[in-house]
């Protein structure tokens, strides 16, 4: 088996969502073997996960250890393990055996910062003590200001009011348009998602922090909205634009996950339907019609105008384009060029041209008319002419 084989681009396209397919199969029933015997056998994937579990745990513990050291160094401000749960692995080593390298021990800069911090702390404490002494001195007067101030402190206000705690009870998520059924793949589309946060009545308001995803959680964006006091709902709108791919991987599943003041998530939404695969831009046939259909009964020498109408038939679900052709009113001896533009999805287009003149007694006019399509593909119409002869 060769390690490096030539890359097959069709294969790449087919495996566009390999990660997601693996994730889906990992959580499928391991006993349910796929009928087509493909490589993503849930049993195999689960066995691989189990097989690499010790390695994965060691990897995670390594990450946790480094995070612990980052926290100890003060570089990471918050005391929260970033990934995994150390308590899930009792006895997992949290401390490195090896000493911290010399070049990451606190240097002069860190020592200077510590010294400045200590000086600031001393100044603050001294200021506090001085303030207390002054306040106590004022308290010996008969103004009573201290008690009044204490009674109107924000803390007391909070305890005396009976406001409902600020929380998000639910989140609705809607998408517009709701369906992409019938739209041609390869065309661009734009979607507007509206999240509606529901808040209980009687809260003091606050800020809702949340993340939203447009691709089933593979990536997410953080955002927040401010809610006023007493407001019971708040909306937030976000949009997504892109090209509808033929493999139907866009638009993906969207969801909103509220992270603060509490955790709650919206239903998953996705525009329904699938885009329609685009066909090539192609003229399948051209029909011709002529008016008048007959000149029988007209006197020779009569001035007439003959109108030839070409109807181009275009392959359905095409991307549209320009049809380049030439037409003739003299049985092909002369053929001036012309073109006509059709829109995506358009299946027919018409083009008319005329011949005018006196009907000759030798019946050589009007002659056959028709069109010859050059692009996007070559196709000729039948040649048509009014029936009958002048008399």
């Amino acid at each position: 088996m060769r390690d490096e084989e030539p890359v097959n681009f069709e294969e790449v396209a087919r495996l566009q969502n390999l990660d997601e397919q693996i994730d889906q199969r990992l959580y499928a029933n391991p006993q349910a073997r796929p009928a087509n015997q493909d490589a993503l056998d849930p049993q195999l994937l689960n066995d691989l996960r189990d097989f690499y579990q010790p390695h994965g745990q060691a990897f995670q513990q390594g990450l946790d250890r480094v995070w612990g050291r980052l926290e100890q160094s003060g570089a990471a401000q918050r005391q929260r393990p970033p990934r995994g749960d150390p308590t899930a692995e009792p006895g997992a080593p949290q401390e490195r055996i090896h000493p911290m390298p010399e070049n990451i021990r606190p240097g002069w800069g860190a020592r200077l910062a510590a010294l400045i911090a200590a000086v600031v702390a001393v100044v603050l404490v001294a200021g506090l003590v001085l303030g207390l002494v002054l306040v106590r001195a004022n308290g010996t007067n008969t103004t009573g200001n201290n008690q009044t101030q204490t009674g109107s402190s924000p803390q007391a206000t909070q305890t005396t009011s009976a406001q409902t705690p600020f929380s998000v009870t639910s989140v609705d998520l809607a998408v517009s348009p709701t369906s992409i059924a019938g739209k041609a793949c390869g065309t661009s589309a734009s979607f507007t998602y509206t999240a509606t946060f529901h808040i209980p009545a009687g809260t003091a308001g606050g800020t809702i922090h949340f993340q939203y995803t447009l691709n089933n959680g593979m990536s997410s964006t953080s955002a927040s909205v401010a809610v006023g006091a007493g407001q019971t709902s708040k909306t937030y709108t976000f949009t997504s634009s892109g090209t509808l791919p033929p493999d139907h991987t866009y638009p993906g599943i969207a969801e909103v996950l509220v992270t603060a003041p509490n955790s709650v998530h919206s239903p998953q939404v996705k525009p329904s339907g699938l885009c329609v695969a685009q066909a090539a831009f192609q003229v399948t046939s051209v029909n011709m019609a002529v008016s008048p259909t007959s000149i029988a009964g007209l006197a020779c020498g009569t001035q007439v105008t003959v109108t030839y109408t070409a109807t181009f038939h275009i392959l359905a679900n095409g991307p549209g384009g320009t049809i380049h052709f030439s037409y003739t009113v003299d049985n092909g001896r002369g053929s001036p060029p012309a073109s006509i533009t059709v829109a995506a999805g358009q299946t027919t287009a018409t083009y008319s041209f005329t011949w005018s003149g006196a009907l000759p007694p030798d019946h050589t006019m009007p002659e056959n008319g028709g069109v010859f399509v050059n692009s996007p593909n070559q196709v000729n119409s039948p040649l048509v002419a009014p029936a009958g002869r002048c008399s």
Partner: protein, 186 residues
């Protein structure tokens, strides 16, 4: 909601979010480059200390942060290679052997699991080196194809194909072994 950030939460600091987002990839890359697991951890620590110093990384546009971290990791690695001649080294392969010996002495449950995985281990050994690496990075270290491509310095499409071919091979080889075992058991 499926998420690539299992521990993300409302009280997560920006530093924790950055570490959670990029730490695994940088760590996997360093494990591949460094002489030992411990060295990889030390280097990872140095990279993120540099990143968090005066909020340097937060000042970098989000889409450029991974490239910035990889660049720092490369510089740290160069320093490490320069110093490594003066340090005693334990190759990762030797460490792996030690780990396997330790596991062999682990409780019976672990041994039983290893027995069950013997066929899978044999099938994995038959894989070409790069395919085996891709499988390990995907299932052991939990990286996505795009991250594996960064670690291995390959294109994402090529990684997908390598992974697909590895799984196809394992499905064929390991699947047969499993069916054989099932028949034997009957």
């Amino acid at each position: 909601m499926k998420s690539a950030s299992p521990a993300s939460g409302m009280d997560e600091s920006p530093a924790a979010a950055l570490y959670r987002q990029h730490g695994p990839l940088i760590f996997a890359w360093l494990l591949k480059q460094a002489h030992s697991w411990e060295d990889a951890e030390d280097l990872l620590l140095e990279v993120f200390l540099a990143a968090f110093e005066r909020n340097r990384l937060l000042a970098v546009p989000e889409e450029k942060r991974l490239a910035w971290l990889l660049s720092v990791a490369q510089h740290k690695l160069v320093d490490y290679y320069r110093l490594s001649g003066r340090r005693p080294q334990v190759p990762l392969d030797a460490l792996a052997e030690t780990l396997e010996e330790d596991e062999a002495r682990a409780p019976e449950a672990v041994a039983l699991r290893h027995e069950r995985n013997a066929d899978l281990r044999a099938a994995l050994q038959a894989l070409p080196q790069t395919q085996r690496e891709v499988v390990q990075l995907r299932f052991g270290e939990g990286l996505r194809c795009t991250e594996i491509a960064t670690v291995l310095g390959k294109r994402e499409g090529a990684v997908r194909i390598l992974l697909w071919r590895a799984l196809t091979f394992l499905r064929e080889r390991y699947g047969k072994d499993q069916e054989g075992n099932t028949r034997d058991a009957r």
